[in-house]
Subunit: 193 residues, 2 copies
């Protein structure tokens, strides 16, 4: 299964593509950041993000596009542009009948490190380790996009289907599954922006 | 000049198309509301808005697409979806090299009624009067999309180019022009979301 992770942003949109093979083996395929110039008008910048995301989704033909969930309480100056790019990623996927998913930043931290409030550097180190990269993925948007893809690939909802696979859960995944059950995050809540 | 107005929204997106002829004569072309079902997933709803907006922009081939500016301080449950649909309208226009503009709700009220804090019903009545409609455009999203298009067509920046046309300004337009100068709204500020 090819998972296309997106860390949405108008100035920098991170894209990370991985393959989830048998026994939850994850391998690195691609990472990049689509950039736009803050001096350009909003419509041109959104068009550039749209074209960049569409081209990459076309190129890697993923089985799922997983996008970092945008929260309204973040910096109001950037949140609208971030939400707009997240929306473009959803439409670029949906136009090609590719399913989409969303995972929150704290879900990602929990899935990758076992700690929902982990520091960025801890997440970056674990991303590099999980994917067998010799260098940390940079900038942060690139690492976050890979972390988003890994989170989706490791999501307990998949692992917990059929008890047989449950034994493959790492300690972090177990904690994550428990946390998700505790907070009663429904599939609907995960999907909604 | 054909102006395509958009009142963005995920559940209901208003679209209003008018023609601005010689001597600022405005005529009605089209009004509609693109609807999606709140029970459907976000990606499907965004795709439906994208397809609906793209089809209508293709059909009416406007000279400009004018979109209601989205503010972050509105209801946080709906503002992200609204911003996403506004972004889709921008990209649908920009993909066809059609310029976009944004006007705030209070700019629209001021342009249409001469009062930046006018009631919805006053705006609806003036929209019907300006366009010579026998009935009030309904629902509110439809009226707001037409009001957005009218506001763009009547914008003082156009009217004030060359003193000769300035005499055609109505009292409301004069007040609006003065207000805009007072608040020093730059062209850049109007464009930004």
């Amino acid at each position: 299964m090819i998972v296309f992770g997106v860390d949405p942003g108008l100035t920098r949109c991170g894209v990370g593509v991985i393959e989830a093979g048998a026994s939850r083996r994850l391998s690195f395929i691609h990472v990049d950041v689509i950039r736009t110039d803050p001096k350009d008008p909003q419509d041109i910048r959104l068009l550039q993000q749209w074209q960049g995301l569409s081209r990459k989704i076309e190129e890697f033909s993923p089985d799922v596009v997983s996008i970092e969930r945008v929260f309204a309480q973040h910096n109001v100056n950037t949140v609208l542009g971030t939400a707009q790019v997240a929306g473009l990623a959803m439409v670029a996927a949906a136009e090609r009948s590719i399913p989409t998913a969303v995972h929150t930043p704290s879900e990602v931290k929990l899935a990758i490190t076992g700690n929902g409030t982990a520091e960025k550097i801890q997440v970056e180190r674990m991303v590099a380790r999980i994917l067998g990269l010799n260098v940390l993925p940079k900038p942060a948007d690139a690492a976050d996009a890979l972390a988003q893809a890994i989170t989706h690939a490791l999501r307990p909802s998949g692992a917990l289907q059929g008890g047989e696979r449950e034994q493959h859960l790492t300690m972090a995944q177990r904690q994550w599954a428990q946390q998700l059950q505790k907070t009663k995050m429904s599939k609907g809540a995960l999907r909604g922006m």
